[in-house]
């Protein structure tokens, strides 16, 4: 498996709070993608970070990547109820054209 010990996590927070989700992976990756999946929809890419980057920002999103510990995090600041979704990280299979997806973090933001 590409992943460390990982279960589907569930987080419930109040609107306006900040939240950080983590994922760890076992083998080298050139990029970590973070996807958001809202109820009844397919996943959608929200941010990606490459192996030569330590941090990437996009609006209220911040992704970090630590290649030495093979881990990545996604932070959302000032959460909104519309951020309620399952968040997945995905890593590439070096040399192939596909990605491995983690099991995800279910985030509920209470208005």
């Amino acid at each position: 498996s590409q992943w460390g010990e990982e279960n589907l996590q569930a987080l419930s927070i109040q609107e306006g709070e900040d939240v950080t989700m983590n994922c760890s992976y076992k083998t080298y990756t050139t990029v970590v993608q973070w996807y958001r999946q809202k109820s009844g929809k397919g996943p959608a890419l929200i941010i990606l970070i490459r192996s030569n980057e330590r941090e990437k920002r996009s609006g209220r999103l911040r992704a970090t990547l630590d290649t030495s510990s093979q881990s990545s995090s996604l932070s959302i600041t000032g959460t909104l109820a519309t951020d309620t979704a399952v968040y997945f990280c995905a890593t590439d299979a070096t040399g192939y054209q596909n990605f491995y997806f983690g099991k995800g973090t279910s985030l509920t933001v209470i208005p």
């Binding site: 990029v31 993608q33 397919g42 990606l48 054209q97 990605f99 491995y100 997806f101 995800g104």
Partner: protein, 113 residues
């Protein structure tokens, strides 16, 4: 915005039945993928393709066939469906020059009785 459509959106069949799931993308992407999503497992890759007539095996291919008839169309075939194939199936596509971004369809929910 890339567009990926799937049909049917919901399907019920019986054990041993024959099922075809369809996916179409209208953005001239080279790569197309079939995933299944199950609670506790996240998204798992079944098959993928990088062009018409091409097929690559993913991580959970057993019991599934796939065919890429055109650049736009990718089909997933379950010829002898089993209850273990009850799942939510997603199709995705990506571009040769920007493989990092996969665009997903809305999903097909399959129930095998």
């Amino acid at each position: 915005e890339a567009a990926v459509t799937q049909s049917p959106r919901n399907k019920v069949t019986v054990t041993g039945g024959n099922v075809t799931l369809s996916c179409r993308q209208t953005n001239s992407h080279n790569y197309m993928y079939w995933y299944r999503q199950d609670t506790g497992h996240g998204l798992r890759l079944i098959h993928y393709s990088y062009g018409a007539g091409n097929l690559q095996i993913g991580d959970v291919p057993d019991g599934y066939k796939a065919t890429r008839t055109t650049q736009e169309d990718f089909f997933l075939l379950l010829e002898l469906a089993s209850p273990s194939q009850t799942s939510l199936y997603f199709c995705a596509s990506s571009d040769r020059d920007n493989q990092d971004t996969q665009y997903f369809g809305p999903g097909t929910r399959l129930l095998v009785l």
